[in-house]
Amino acid sequence: MEAFAYVAPSSIDEAVAELAKHAKKGHRAQVLAGGTDLLVQLRGADIEPRILVDIKKVAETNRLHLGKNEIFIGAAIPSAVLNENTELVELLPGLLEAADLIGSTQIQGRATLGGNLCNASPAGDTIPAMIAVGVSCVIIGGKGQREMPVEKFVLGVGRNALKAGEFLVGLKIPRPKSRSADAYMRFIPRTEMDIAVAGCGVSVTLDAKGLCKEARVAIGAVAPTAILVPAAARALIGTTLDDAALAAAAAACSDAASPITDKRGTIDFRRKVVGVLCRRATAIARDRALARKALGV
């Protein structure tokens, strides 16, 4: 592993200036958060030296705010810290269970949602979960701040929408309404510490009568990027999320998948399993939403 330098700016302005300086010189500047993917990559085949810009000392990347209308999760907060926040886990159980599926206790002590997203692996567990809850990515660069829906952020395998000189500051999430809940499920052949063969994130909002009035369904590890499946959401909206609706949403997920065959699973298997995961995750999200309704939250 080689690096020209390590810098740890202490403010957004400093970080932007640092990234701009290196972009101008044509140096490869690499943003570092938890480093659980990056440090391994630096030791692997991709060994071109670069400048490491550690964003963990920037206050905004560590900010966690559970607002009345909006939740903000700084891009550099380790998932273990997020999962220790019981209020956050209660609000977004699906997103947090996705984060809790990634790696060991040690990895979760460092790994971040922002890093999982920027790393842009097709199998990144939190990405479908983020799409399901409607995350908006807060990006900062020399030209100021911009926001982008998370489903547009990942462009391809290992590629994201950040331009030279930009970095991901955090994630904005609409605070789940009453009678709303999310869930994430993945399939792996082991019980833990594995990479998704297929994954599905779902969020649903019920009306006072228990009919589904809003839904978002996203699938992972079955296409070059995690994708939103509007047809699956349409199959759920207006129903009581009964078996027929779940089966229709599952079929929509299987149709939307364009998986590959590799050592972890075949095309046919992934296509089938992603539908099963949609059905089960939707049922969990529904039951969570009903439980919240019963509690009057």
Binding site: Y6, A8, G35, T36, V40, S104, T105, Q106, I107
Partner: protein, 159 residues
């Protein structure tokens, strides 16, 4: 190369060192500071042999840059025993023969400390998931789990 000066605290003792930007905390602990209790296994964050605590948070020291550790409190296996003797976790690992070759043991003891600090009375599932990032190719894990359960029982005191 431009060396970076770092002042940190290791096992409650102020330590100052110079490192290269790409050196990991594990590299510095073992090579620069000669604290070889922390082991290198995979160097990719998969095996847990290099586990340490940084500000009481369990991490793989192979995935932490040394340059990041300024002003932090680092706990390594060398900081576990006291002048009075072995830490109860270490003693129970011996009592239960929860080790053979010993390469994974420092990491497992650090991970167990982190587990019991947060979950003083863990059930077996919690123990197995918490320690899932610490690979052991000798014991088959059962003796390790028994040792951890025994420490937890002792810490809880007489029922």
């Amino acid at each position: 190369m431009n060396k970076i000066q770092v002042i940190t605290s290791i096992n409650h003792e102020e330590v100052e060192f110079l490192c290269e930007p790409q050196e990991t905390l594990l590299d510095v602990l073992r090579e620069t500071l000669g604290r070889t209790g922390t082991k290198e296994g995979c160097a990719t964050g998969d095996c847990g042999a290099c586990s340490v605590l940084v500000d009481d948070r369990l991490v793989c020291s192979c995935l932490v840059l040394a340059a990041e550790t300024g002003g932090r409190e680092i706990t390594t296996i060398e900081g576990i025993a006291t002048e009075e003797g072995l830490h109860p976790i270490q003693q129970k690992f011996l009592d239960h023969a929860a080790l053979q070759c010993g390469i994974c043991t420092p990491g497992l003891i650090i991970a167990t400390k982190s587990l019991l600090d947060r979950h003083p009375d863990p059930d077996e599932t919690t123990i197995r998931y918490w320690l899932a990032g610490n690979l052991c190719r000798c014991t088959g894990y059962d003796k390790i789990v028994r040792a951890v359960q025994d420490v937890a029982r002792d810490l809880a005191g007489p029922a």
